[in-house]
């Protein structure tokens, strides 16, 4: 291999010794391995046939407009995996998470799924929030026949538009959320509602399911305003809000959400209609940011409450401590690093669903993926507790979607206080299809 100048002679670089592996190096290696095995914290996975880790490919929004969510989804996932491993892992095997950035981009998302299936050879793919990434990635998961557990919110999984390998067992979908909250909006906020929503898949779920849900409560959507997700200035849309509007229902995502709320405040001042917002409009944003005083007295949907509540369960407290968020929903030690508390619990709960399903299926490796799909479909309910701190849930295996409770919170003195909790039954609807009829 050595050329004239020795550029390609690896032995000269010190990477490989000329004499090969010496006895001394071999002994050192053996000693190190033995040392690792007896080191404190080393969990013995004795009952497992193989102690190789179960590999979970985590498709994360590290960059792009979903980055704030990605960061907290990673923190929550790390905390859940730590807890699972400390308790012996899944089927006695440790869990290892491999993270790839999807750039909050559907094309990249599909590539990442392919990379997990063929290059990293993970057991499953997990993660991701933004609906367009989920929809873009789902076919790749179906083709690779790799189970894909998403922590999104859109109705795309439950509508059975995707495929049998895609599950959403840890967070409810928009159709269910809206249906369970519409009665509260009609009874407490107002009957004439103007909707402002992002102009892509997630926003369309709000556009399509709010009008019928409100109609059933004797209220009406009188205007629907779609805003491109990359928009950075919003004032120009506000004249479209009809003057007779009693409630502005807003749901925005991405980096410009703070600007959206600030401009709404400048436009209306104190003389505003009632506001009902999806927490997406304020995720990862400090509610005490300048310009947001305007939100005082308005209401928000929260999947899981950002602020610690007086009646928090022990499981909720333990979950918050494990993830590292303080009573205000910010990172412990950094009050400016506000979490995406309303959504990120879904990562924690989904991982425990994966654990349960893998244990039910006696999952051993990629050859058991079909068994894992069937075992997940066989699940019916998750009890509230350390594994499901947000609340109890039911699961419909035909549509791969869970149903749970929602929180309606009021902004009071720069904090969010839960004023109403819906029931699981409020969000149930007729299944629109059946994934279990698809071939595996």
């Amino acid at each position: 291999m050595a050329d004239k100048n020795g550029f390609f002679d690896l032995s000269k670089t010190g990477l490989i010794s000329k004499t090969g592996l010496t006895r001394r190096t071999a002994l050192k290696g053996l000693a190190a391995t033995a040392g690792l095995a007896v080191a404190p914290g080393f969990v013995r996975y004795s009952q497992a046939q193989s102690s190789a880790p179960i590999k979970i490919g985590f498709q994360s929004h590290r960059t792009g407009i979903g980055a704030a969510y990605g960061r907290w989804y990673e923190k929550t996932t790390a905390a859940a995996v730590k807890a699972i491993n400390a308790a012996g892992g899944i089927n006695g095997r440790p869990v290892e998470v491999i993270i790839e950035d999807d750039g909050t981009d559907p094309g990249r998302g599909a590539e990442v799924v392919g990379k997990f299936a063929t290059q990293h050879k993970t057991d499953i793919v997990f993660g991701t929030l933004f609906s367009h990434v989920v929809i873009g990635s789902a076919p790749a998961a179906g083709e690779a026949k790799i189970p894909y557990f998403v922590v999104s919110e859109g109705h795309h999984v439950a509508s059975t538009k995707l495929n049998r390998y895609v599950f959403q067992p840890g967070i409810t979908d928009v159709k269910s959320q809206i249906q369970s909250m519409a009665p509260w909006i009609a009874a407490n906020a107002g009957k004439k509602v103007t909707q402002i929503f992002p102009d892509f898949a997630f926003g369309y779920d709000h556009r399509d399911y709010l009008p019928p849900a409100l109609k059933a409560q004797g209220a009406d959507v009188i205007a629907q305003i779609a805003i491109p997700p990359t928009e950075s200035s919003f004032t120009k849309y506000f004249p479209q809000i009809p003057p007779e509007t009693e409630v502005i229902y807003h749901v925005m995502v991405g980096p410009a959400v703070l600007t959206f709320v600030k401009e709404l405040g400048e436009f209306y001042g104190s003389n505003r209609p009632q506001l009902f917002g999806f927490m997406d409009s304020l995720e990862a944003t400090d509610i005490n940011s300048p310009g947001l005083e305007f939100l005082d007295g308005s209401h928000f949907w929260e999947g899981s409450p950002r602020y610690a509540q007086a009646d928090d369960s022990a499981a909720q407290k333990a979950y918050r401590a494990a993830v590292g968020i303080d009573d205000n929903g910010a990172a412990v030690g950094d009050p400016k690093d506000v979490s995406t508390a309303s959504h990120m619990f879904g990562c924690w709960e989904t991982l425990y669903v994966v654990k349960k399903a893998m244990e039910d299926a006696g999952y051993k490796g990629p050859e058991d993926r079909a068994k894992l799909v069937e075992a997940t479909e066989a699940l019916t309910a998750f009890a509230e507790g350390p594994e499901h701190p947000q609340g109890a849930k039911t699961f419909n295996g035909k549509i791969h979607q869970c149903f749970g409770i929602q929180n309606i919170s009021k902004v009071e003195g720069g904090k969010l206080k839960v004023v109403h909790k819906t029931k699981i039954e409020d969000g149930l609807y007729e299944a629109e299809g059946d994934y279990t009829t698809q071939a595996l």
Binding site: T63, P239, P255, T259
Partner: protein, 293 residues
């Protein structure tokens, strides 16, 4: 909302867009006019201005106006210095060859964007405006700070015009633009002028970004829109023409405000693009540009 107030709001929004656009596009136009360099990384200098404004305002406590004023001075200086280094290290070594510099500035775009991602992160972060005053009109409220952007931009544009037309520096820049070889023969350090102009162009973009960051937010991907709009403006106005840049910026800003408010933002972009095509077909040198010799 009635037509009158609706139009007023549209015009106000359009003017704010125009004000920021005029400053950004002027930087692009100057660099091309004097150096014949199409600076594709211009939008990233804009983004750097906003990101630095966030860093400076968060480092300086106290009243938000203090941090903002500091940012308005320091951020453009840092961006100018970065541009100067980039010009010395890259563009000069390519002898300002038009094709090579396009590719080189595309490279700079990616490098600056990824550095911002690495050191600043992917989040959008807010900067507090120096003052918060809500102007209460009978039909709607409007941000007093937004109106001040229009004033600040107008002042800066007048200052730039004075520098270009009334000072020795301006004279040297114009001489270099007119004929760089003859200018060099007359003892003008063309090389240094080029470095200065490139830095000045980047600084104008940075100032525009500092002005807009309190009503928008600092984000590492925010350079793309201003780059595209700046190109539209300088093509319509005529490359290297200050007057053309301002007129085209007002035209594009107002039409964007009004069309996107009464119809749709997509239609506004379509019309702007159509306008560019029309200008290129019927007056390739731009509305106020002079034909290349």
């Amino acid at each position: 909302m009635h037509f009158g107030p609706h139009l007023l709001l549209a015009a106000l929004e359009g003017l704010v867009t125009s004000a920021v656009l005029a400053l950004t596009a002027l930087g692009l136009s100057l660099v091309f006019g004097v150096m014949r360099v199409v600076n594709v990384a211009h939008g990233e200098f804009f983004m750097l201005g906003a990101v630095l404004a966030w860093a400076i305002t968060s480092a300086i406590g106290g009243h938000p106006a203090l941090g903002f004023l500091a940012a308005l001075v320091i951020a453009p200086l840092i961006v100018g210095a970065i541009a100067l280094v980039a010009e010395r290290l890259v563009l000069r070594r390519l002898n300002y060859n038009p094709e090579a510099t396009i590719v080189a500035t595309i490279g700079m775009l990616y490098i600056i964007q990824q550095l911002a991602l690495s050191f600043y992160g992917p989040e959008a972060r807010p900067v507090e405006p120096p003052f918060s005053y809500r102007i209460l009109l009978p039909w709607f409220g409007y941000s007093g700070y937004k109106l001040s952007i229009i004033a600040a931009s107008a002042l800066l544009l007048i200052a730039t015009w004075l520098v270009l037309t009334r000072t020795r520096i301006g004279l040297i820049m114009r001489a270099t633009q007119y004929d760089s070889e003859t200018a060099q023969a007359f003892g003008i350090p063309v090389d240094r002028v080029y470095g200065g102009v490139f830095a000045l162009g980047a600084m104008l973009a940075a100032i525009a970004a500092v002005l807009i960051v309190p009503i928008s937010q600092a984000h590492y991907l925010m350079g793309q829109d201003p780059l595209l709009l700046s190109f539209i403006v300088v093509i319509i106005g005529g490359l290297g023409s200050l007057r053309g840049t301002v007129v085209a910026a007002v035209l594009i800003g107002l039409s964007d405000g009004i069309i996107s408010m009464f119809f749709s933002p997509t239609l506004a972009k379509m019309i702007a693009t159509l306008l560019v095509a029309m200008v290129l077909v019927f007056r390739p040198q731009g509305l106020f540009g002079t034909a290349a010799r």
